[in-house]
């Protein structure tokens, strides 16, 4: 009897711990929305999102240049990392020998462990001058950001795609080889299509990571409030806007930064939900 009570008590405690993450999520969500929504309503939803001017000193808050900036940098990062990550995961899952895999896979996963400020630092000291001297502009640019972010999201996309490829039953490979396919044909025509949804989910999650990254982006992006028209233009993203101005913002300005957070929150939530749904479809 006593033991049963103890068991019940322990399971309740564990349940509470598990629920605390939901609690934290709820609190953060409520807080961001409560702080941010008034500014959005005051400016008008459409003006807030599609307006061009962000002038905190005059109380004008529109974030379109930053939305454009975030998406430009994210798209650039995907252009850099998706081809790499796909080739990497296909090689590791389908072609690499045991030893190669044992070395390369942890190495790629280690990339995820490097602090983003280090990426930013390398970007500023190496990549930015390189772009300035060899390609043009002042170096702080969408291009620089895309390259660094592309490397940063490489482990996410690679390891999720890798898992998706490994989850394809060997019967697919055998079936293809038994029809006279070469190994590459079997991978390209039977295995990759079967892992398709998993790979798409990997890319979507990578997009979420790229759009949420802050530190490295601030250091390399240049942070100008313009809509980037060339890869060499500087940009400011939603995340960097919050981080750059929160130090001195107050009142309405501070709320506007929370409103920026609301938009970011919605974008990232949407990407995550999309990824989950794609994965669910694959399982079924």
């Amino acid at each position: 009897m006593k033991q049963a009570v103890r068991e019940a008590f322990i399971s309740k405690i564990l349940l509470l711990t598990a629920l605390s993450s939901i609690g934290a999520l709820t609190l953060i969500t409520v807080f961001i929305f409560a702080e941010g929504l008034p500014v959005i309503f005051k400016t008008g939803f459409f003006d807030f999102i599609f307006g061009m001017k962000w002038k905190p000193s005059r109380g004008i808050f529109s974030i379109f240049p930053m939305i454009a900036g975030s998406f430009a940098v994210m798209a650039g990062a995907m252009l850099v990392s998706v081809p790499f990550a796909l080739c990497c995961s296909i090689y590791l899952a389908e072609f690499a020998g045991r030893t190669t895999r044992a070395i390369v896979k942890p190495a790629i996963e280690l990339l995820a462990g490097i602090p983003s400020v280090v990426y930013g630092f390398i970007g500023v000291t190496v990549l930015v001058p390189f772009i300035k001297n060899n390609i043009g502009g002042n170096g702080f640019s969408v291009l620089g950001c895309s390259i660094v972010l592309g490397i940063m999201v490489l482990p996410t996309i690679t390891s999720i795609s890798y898992d998706a490829l490994r989850a394809v039953p060997d019967s697919y490979r055998e079936g293809a080889l038994a029809l006279g396919a070469t190994r590459w044909q079997a991978v390209k025509m039977a295995v990759v299509p079967a892992a398709g949804s998993g790979i798409i989910a990997a890319v979507i999650l990578g997009m979420g990571r790229a759009i949420g990254e802050t530190m490295a982006v601030i250091m390399i992006a240049g942070n100008s409030l313009i809509i980037p028209l060339s890869p060499l233009d500087p940009v400011r993203t939603l995340t960097s806007n919050i981080a750059l101005e929160m130090g001195y913002a107050s009142g309405m300005h501070r709320q506007a930064l929370f409103a920026t957070g609301v938009i970011l929150f919605v974008i990232i939530m949407a990407l995550n939900i999309l990824a989950t749904r794609v994965i669910k479809r694959a399982v079924r």
Binding site: A178, G180, G196
Partner: protein, 262 residues
């Protein structure tokens, strides 16, 4: 030949001539000097208890066994007179000409039509009309055309098990093989689906040579022209199915067929 049986009774050269085939997985001697002739347009059933080497033999014939690490082969398999283990053999071409149907139906996660087109595409066929007509003729050959012709875009993995297995056979038919290897093709199907696949095998025999592995002796008796009984890597007895079931020469065959073990 160890058991003195050849299958030349049609008076023509065998499509496959297996002689002295040994097979090793690491230290395990999986096939022991197997020799047998396979006649064109016949169905050969390989029977025997689990682990006797019948699946290994089947996999060796289209060299799918190459995929297994640490495997080794010696001996000779002449396919239309050419050794399949020879140096100049193009494995992809060999596997086109000797197709394999697996125990578990394994259609690709593609549409029904793309499953059929897979083989021809692998071998370089690009013409859309040719591919489309192959879809129709292959599905007709396995009796699926009428029921599937309106949903060729549907995912093949959503079909019923026996339809999937027929589709896998149709997928082979599309590359116009000469021999079909079937590794317990009915073991995951219910009795009615099994009968329909057996019926299909008899139909296919007109154009192909079929070698099938089965656990099911009634099936071997029903469907095959020749049967080989294997035990511990050895081909104990190989002859006409009618003979082996009514009048086995080897005591071990007799024991197995009358249900003493296996």
């Amino acid at each position: 030949m160890t058991n003195g049986i050849t299958a030349y009774d049609k008076g023509e050269a065998p499509i496959l001539k297996i002689s002295g085939l040994d097979y090793y997985y690491g230290d395990f001697h999986a096939l022991k000097s197997v020799s047998m002739d396979i006649c064109r347009n016949s169905i050969v059933a390989l029977i025997g208890p689990s682990g006797c080497g019948k699946s290994t033999l089947l996999k060796a014939l289209d060299r799918m066994s190459d995929l297994i690490e640490g495997s080794r082969v010696s001996g000779e398999v002449l396919f239309n007179g050419e050794n399949i283990f020879g140096a100049g053999v193009d494995i992809t071409l060999l596997r086109k000409r000797i197709g394999m149907v697996f125990q578990h139906p394994n259609p690709f996660a593609l549409s029904i039509a793309d499953n059929i087109k897979f083989g021809p595409r692998v071998h370089g066929e690009k013409n859309r009309e040719t591919l489309d007509s192959l879809v129709e003729s292959s599905l007709r050959a396995v009796g699926l055309w009428d029921q599937l012709k309106d949903r060729l875009d549907k995912k093949a993995t959503e079909l019923q098990a026996d339809e999937q297995q027929r589709l896998c056979i149709a997928r082979l038919v599309a590359v116009e093989p000469e021999i079909l290897l079937m590794d317990e093709p009915c073991s995951t199907l219910d009795p009615i689906a099994t009968l329909s696949i057996e019926e299909l095998m008899r139909e296919l025999k007109k154009n192909y040579t079929i070698i099938t592995v089965t656990h099911n002796m009634q099936q071997a008796a029903r469907v095959s022209d020749y049967s080989g009984f294997m035990l511990m890597g050895e081909l104990v007895e190989y002859s006409k199915t009618a003979d082996i079931f009514s009048n086995p020469r080897d005591k071990r065959t007799d024991d197995y067929i009358s249900g003493h073990y296996g």
